[in-house]
């Protein structure tokens, strides 16, 4: 069952400048993106800085007002919800942020941070709430005496556990994890990844897992979408994507990951150039300037996200030459 469906989502931000501070341009942060997430499953959203992956996360939670497109949650259109129905929605859809330093209020104790979601949604008596807070702390592997402490008394990994406890408090159906483990050291990162996978198996939540690290994305995801400059360039089941990447950008991304094995050193630079400015992306295929396979048609027509004939229909790619590229 689909829990979330996004259709042709667009998120444009105005840019102001000049003497009269008028709008002089628009940034196409998200430029027509469609995907869906199954209940209890994880969709990984991967891409480099500025590709629009975090903007999507925020638009889904309606922290931004989408410019165009439609977002539905459990079949209900939530694109323009407001007031109490929006608040109700947010008990079903929660977020875990990258920086646990910035997302926890430094002046509140951990107990009151964790109690807040219950208060906002008028759940239980004070006693029940406090018991629930203790249960949450225990579930994420934090000692019960954390209740009286402040966020600065904890390490990054522990703070991320508190952020997770807050996100799961109201038993949401979908959690958006925005670079949730990127700021953590390797040995702590694996603890948090294990916790997220366990919680999903236990509570059956769906995750939208946003990250730039392809190894982490592969570890947690069932399905993966690769973004480049505001668009999804490839979307597929996890194994299909890593075994048979079809878009030249996905191929380059996978080839760029440093492998912790000195016998498999790279002997070439996989991709030249840099991501163009989102203010002025190349029209049609956004990747054309960096692509080794680009031809005239790539600068004349926008490639559509579609599956290629004779292969898995759930593996879709936006490239005119998908399936016809020989691996270099």
């Amino acid at each position: 069952m689909e829990i979330l469906k996004v259709e042709e989502l667009k998120m444009h931000f105005p840019v102001y400048g000049g003497i009269f501070y008028r709008q002089i341009a628009r940034v196409f942060a998200v430029d027509g993106v469609s995907f869906s997430i199954e209940a209890g499953k994880t969709l990984g959203l991967v891409g480099e800085s500025g590709c629009g992956k975090s903007t999507i996360g925020r638009a889904l939670l309606r922290l931004y007002e989408p410019t165009a497109g439609r977002i539905s949650f459990e079949g209900k259109d939530i694109t323009h919800l407001s007031g109490s129905s929006l608040r109700e929605l947010r008990s079903d859809m929660q977020m875990i942020f990258q920086d646990p330093f910035e997302s926890l209020n430094p002046r509140h104790t951990v107990g009151s941070i964790l109690e807040e979601p219950f208060q906002i949604h008028r759940w239980g008596t004070p006693l029940e709430r406090r018991q629930e807070v203790l249960r949450l702390l225990d579930r994420v592997g934090m000692p019960a005496d954390s209740v009286h402490k402040y966020p600065h008394e904890f390490s990054g990994g522990q703070r991320q556990r508190i952020g997770i406890a807050r996100a799961i408090a109201l038993k949401p159906k979908l959690i958006i994890c925005d670079e949730a483990v990127s700021a953590l050291d390797v040995s702590i990162q694996s603890q948090i990844l294990n916790l997220l996978v366990e919680l999903q198996q236990e509570m059956g939540m769906a995750y939208l897992f946003i990250a730039h690290d392809l190894s982490v994305i592969r570890h947690v995801s069932d399905q993966i979408a690769v973004m480049y400059l505001g668009r999804i360039v490839e979307i597929a089941e996890r194994d299909s994507l890593y075994k048979n990447p079809l878009h030249p950008y996905t191929q380059a991304l996978i080839a760029s990951i440093p492998v912790p094995d000195p016998r498999r050193r790279k002997t070439f630079t996989p991709l030249q150039g840099e991501v163009p400015s989102p203010l002025n992306p190349p029209p049609f295929c956004h990747f054309v300037e960096r692509c080794a396979y680009a031809q005239a048609v790539c600068s004349q027509q926008t490639p559509q996200l579609s599956s290629i004939d004779g292969s898995d229909p759930s593996h879709r790619v936006a490239c005119h030459f998908a399936g016809r590229l020989s691996h270099k």
């Binding site: 990994g157 050291d185 694996s190 730039h212 190894s215 380059a252 760029s256 492998v259």
Partner: protein
């Protein structure tokens, strides 16, 4: 055996803070030969950056100071040099690049002035035209397209990858014998990281400089280093030739680190192995082995005395009493 280019002997560095004295480095000994790439790997707070700042004598004053040990650059002890003499070593013989070039570059000077400044400082006899020509040559060498135009730009006009290239250009202007690279690719996207790593390898081939490469990423270590030091809580806990380290890691911490990374060549969604607990605070380090509280092999001896850094050969040394048992 030829004399090492740089030899660090029993270096100890302390920071005096409000909470007391923190021994950030304890008994650090290693060497690096000309043309070699030495990796230093470890998690936040292990002392890898303090090691580089101690070598460069750039510790924040007055809090940080070297309390004992020697840093020998071809036999000359840098810890005893007067500040003016140290100026001639920095930049000329040992140069450094940092993680975030935006903080290392001066935001109000054009690229031209930042390069020129370094040249003037170390070569006062150079004419303006010579400086300009040398700067442009250097920018070209680090792969900056249209260097004449880039010379007139400010750091904020450059992308992250370009800024890191400018930093590398400044560092290499005076042809140093040693380049210390402190997490130079951590803030960059993977495809740009691959470009910068390749650039550093190419430049090393051309100039024969030694590189000390500091990172938390074992994948990057495997990609570029000849030899590796693993640090934990202010000490070197293992040191080995690159293939030896990845084939037979001996210290329980090194093994834990390697197993904790999600890898593309392992099945997804499996429980990652973790290292329980956290790094001890530098204000409250336990006597004996610093890893004892997280180590599954710890025994009474580990809590009483500090294990020496020892091994069966110069190629592989480890700070663990039980390494011979763990070899098999």
């Amino acid at each position: 055996m030829t004399e090492a280019l740089l030899e660090v002997k029993h270096l100890a560095t302390e920071f005096i803070t409000e909470q007391g004295v923190a021994r950030a480095l304890d008994d650090i000994s290693f060497h690096i030969n000309a043309g070699e790439t030495l990796g230093i790997v470890g998690e936040s707070g292990c002392g890898k950056s303090v090691t580089s700042l101690s070598i460069m004598r750039l510790l924040p004053r007055p809090a940080g100071s070297i309390v004992s040990g020697e840093v020998l650059l071809q036999g000359q002890d840098l810890t005893r040099l007067a500040p003016e003499e140290m100026h001639h070593i920095r930049g000329n013989r040992i140069a450094m690049i940092f993680q975030e070039p935006m903080t290392a570059l001066n935001p109000v000077y054009r690229v031209e002035r930042q390069l020129g400044e370094t040249l003037v400082l170390h070569n006062p006899q150079m004419s303006k035209d010579e400086i300009r020509a040398a700067s442009i040559r250097m920018l070209k060498r680090v792969g900056i397209p249209a260097p004449e135009r880039r010379m007139q730009e400010y750091p904020h006009q450059l992308s992250g990858g370009m800024r890191q290239r400018v930093m590398i250009a400044i560092a290499l202007l005076c042809e140093p014998e040693i380049l210390i690279a402190d997490e130079p690719t951590t803030a960059l996207d993977v495809t740009i990281q691959a470009q910068i790593l390749q650039l550093l390898k190419d430049l090393q081939q051309e100039t024969g400089m030694a590189i000390i490469f500091i990172t938390h990423d074992l994948g990057v270590i495997a990609e570029v280093c000849d030899r590796v030091l693993v640090m934990y809580s202010g000490r070197i806990i293992e040191q080995a030739e690159i293939h030896t380290l990845f084939d037979t890691p001996l210290h329980p911490y090194t093994r834990g680190l390697m197993n904790a990374i999600p890898r593309l060549d392992k099945p997804a969604k499996q429980v990652l192995s973790t290292i329980p607990g956290m790094v001890p605070s530098l204000f409250d380090t336990p006597p004996g082995c610093r890893f004892q509280n997280r180590c599954e092999y710890a025994q009474p001896q580990c809590r009483a005395t500090t294990p020496p850094l020892e091994g069966d050969s110069d190629q592989h040394q480890v700070r663990c009493f039980r390494f011979r048992e763990l070899m098999h």
